[in-house]
């Protein structure tokens, strides 16, 4: 039994919006709890890292091209390239490598 897709989309959007305005709703003064602050600080990086690997290697036709794209993207981001450039370099890496693999 599949949930109605529009209900699903609205719930996703509403839950996302709640995260955006959570601080606006509750903030009178900053949260002081150090563990909670620290936990929140690490959450985005951990979530995105977990979602990126090994998924990036499985997303491409050749796992080797995905792995190369991962390394190229990490290097590009490390040396200060922006979101768009990093994403494009990843795509170009896969495009070129899969011509030869």
């Amino acid at each position: 039994m599949q949930i109605n897709v529009y209900l699903y989309i609205f719930v996703m959007a509403f839950a996302t919006w709640l995260m955006r305005v959570a601080a606006s709703l509750i903030m009178k003064k900053p949260v002081r709890n150090r563990f909670f602050q620290s936990f929140l600080y690490y959450v985005p990086y951990v979530t995105l890292a977990v979602m990126t690997f090994p998924a990036i290697v499985e997303a491409t036709q050749s796992p080797l091209a995905g792995a190369a794209a991962l390394l190229v993207c990490i290097a590009a981001a490390w040396f200060g390239q922006g979101l768009f450039t990093v994403a494009v370099l990843g795509c170009v890496t896969v495009l070129i490598l899969e011509l030869f693999i």
């Binding site: 949930i3 897709v5 699903y8 989309i9 719930v11 996703m12 959007a13 839950a15 709640l18 995260m19 955006r20 305005v21 959570a22 601080a23 606006s24 903030m27 900053p30 150090r34 563990f35 620290s38 936990f39 929140l40 600080y41 690490y42 959450v43 985005p44 990086y45 951990v46 979530t47 995105l48 890292a49 977990v50 979602m51 990126t52 690997f53 090994p54 998924a55 990036i56 997303a59 491409t60 050749s62 091209a65 794209a69 991962l70 993207c73 981001a77 490390w78 922006g82 979101l83 768009f84 990093v86 994403a87 494009v88 370099l89 990843g90 795509c91 890496t93 896969v94 495009l95 011509l99």
Partner: protein, 245 residues
């Protein structure tokens, strides 16, 4: 004196390059969304009202696994928890007595990139600026998603394969700069890669859905790093702001 209209137009101009980046990434999100059973109109709607890359990607993926709405809400909260942090950073900049309406409007515009340009802009965050940026960027995000869904299947497999990496490239662009600045984040990213790789192969954990594995790993790893490498209470908000640059 800058009028509110000037500020809105400034936000709009700043939002255009962000929107162009979104368009490319949304195309790859659309390719994934099609695989998870969404049509172009549904993808357009979802992107227009959600405008959250990682959260939407996970939401689309979960839909295909017949998840419950409770699971969807829980995972959406966890995956978008960084928005809470960004909301705190923005509200921190607003003087006491700022109307709740203003705080809500600014908060509603939060994306990684719009937060970045808003926190980098001198002065008090204003909804005129954030809405200008949002109105420039989000339609391109929605359009890219719809085109990815509708055109993904007429593109050669090689092109689709290359484009499917764009989304992960964007995730990497979000996590690596802070990892370079903060060794604890670098450690958290490395541990996350390793445990995520291992979890696909470990008995019991491998049987969990992808979404549940993500929740489990996020909570365990983030909590462990919060205990082992706690943040300084004050520097935390500042750190969030500095990351935007």
């Amino acid at each position: 004196m800058e009028t509110n209209r000037d500020i809105f137009m400034q936000g709009y101009r700043h939002g255009i390059p962000i929107g162009l980046g979104y368009f490319a990434v949304a195309f790859s999100l659309g390719i994934a969304a099609r695989d998870y059973g969404f049509n172009a109109a549904q993808g357009f709607l979802a992107s227009l009202i959600t405008y959250a890359s990682a959260g939407q990607y996970m939401g689309f993926a979960l839909y295909a696994t017949n998840t419950t709405l409770a699971e969807l809400v829980l995972l959406t909260f966890i995956i978008n928890a960084r928005y809470i942090l960004m909301g705190f950073a923005l509200n921190q900049r607003m003087p006491e007595g700022t109307p709740l309406r203003t705080r809500l409007l600014v908060g509603s515009c939060i994306t990684d990139e719009i937060f970045g340009i808003t926190i980098a802009r001198p002065g008090v965050p204003t909804p005129f600026y954030t809405f200008g940026a949002l109105i420039a960027a989000v339609p391109l995000w929605a359009l890219g998603t719809a085109l990815g869904i509708s055109m993904g299947n007429i593109l050669p497999a090689r092109i689709v394969s290359a484009l499917s990496v764009a989304l992960f490239g964007m995730f990497i662009a979000v996590i690596i700069p802070p990892a370079r600045k903060d060794r604890a984040v670098l450690g958290a990213v490395a541990v996350s890669f390793a445990l995520s790789y291992a979890s696909v192969r470990l008995p019991l954990i491998a049987d969990l859905s992808q979404g549940n594995r993500t929740i489990l790993l996020t909570v365990i790893i983030s909590a462990a790093f919060a205990v082992l490498f706690p943040r300084k209470a004050e520097a935390e908000i500042e750190g969030g702001a500095a990351d935007a640059d």
